[in-house]
Symmetry: C2
Amino acid sequence: MPAIEHLTVGSTDPPPVDGKLRLYSMRFCPYAARVHLVLNAKKIPYDPVYINLITKPEWYTSRIPTGKVPAVVVEGTDLYESLVIANYLDEKYPENKLQVDDPLRKAKDAILIESFGKVGSIMYKMYFNDIDTETFDQFLAALDDFEKELATRGTTFYGGNTVKMVDYMLWPFFERMGSYAVPDKPQFKIPEARFPRLTKWINAMIADEAVKQHYLRPDQHAHHLNMRKAGTPDYVIIE
Amino acid sequence: MPAIEHLTVGSTDPPPVDGKLRLYSMRFCPYAARVHLVLNAKKIPYDPVYINLITKPEWYTSRIPTGKVPAVVVEGTDLYESLVIANYLDEKYPENKLQVDDPLRKAKDAILIESFGKVGSIMYKMYFNDIDTETFDQFLAALDDFEKELATRGTTFYGGNTVKMVDYMLWPFFERMGSYAVPDKPQFKIPEARFPRLTKWINAMIADEAVKQHYLRPDQHAHHLNMRKAGTPDYVIIE
């Protein structure tokens, strides 16, 4: 598949598309993926514009104070920060409400999403350094809390018996976890015996329609990551 | 005034008080202050228990995964993270709704609170090192955005013509800014000429009833900070 165009230095911001919400994204970014998932789940028509985060367009950095993706344009205003955008979309667009109504459950979900930071920082280390057994063990230990949480909740999804906001906010990071084990390192696969509920959740998430529309396989994530680590980032999605 | 008791190593968790929400706090912590303000503004009866953050009680660290304040106990569940607690309380208790209803304004408020991090990290540097002119200039430059934002919004408060959630989430950090200028460093006072709207906002916030109930003067904050920097943290509020 040809590379997905990611706009870079010297580009111009494409004009808005009528009736579609503008989303600035990067095809492999887990934070941007959160917003793709919410838009897909709520069937909101959108127009993604992809940004090269290594050599960012000048117009993008001068516009979005963090310089990061995702960002959306709403009534002429730029919104950024993935959780802010996700909650905004959920409140603004009624179809398929993703936040739970009960304030206490909603607060617990927010804490769970926040607590993923511990797993995320280990993942980040494994992304950009060679993965080793000690770090992978720390990673699995941090994941134990997420297995336990599914047991405590007693449902297939963190959100209950259907996919909710908390699931979509966590999912993009889980989608990328399988990429450590490819192509030739099966010892870095998440062991199903230790994580039976998480394994079931992962399979159920892959089958979700909104996830399917943005899903990439572990080897596809691994390809992008390997190219980036080699100093030649590309945006080709291998078939 | 005698020192406010802050529980430490070897203590036990006091039993809950009937009809009052348990808040774990530290009297000088800006994040904990956010929750005090929301509780005050909504007139929710609460029972504060103060934690010594230098020598934390074992029961506290084994209970709250972050080991930080604030935390509240709700229906037998511990909630932590100041923004999560603030939003939970606002949704659960109807009196004096603090979040704005419009999803776009709410999203912009969330981004504004998030963007305070830049000011906050400079403040943190100035707290624990000797303050110097260069750092103070960076601090003022970061504050410019907050002056500008009040101009853009065209209201006394960030929340509009009355104090809203965004104001209470920002306020605790502003309450502490005056402590740099005391006792003998007037050059580190926020200049009113450069920040006319912020100055007006600060004065209006100090006059707010919920703020008054938790307010400490700059010299009171400075006293705690100086004791802490000297290695002898105390919790005396000087008169």
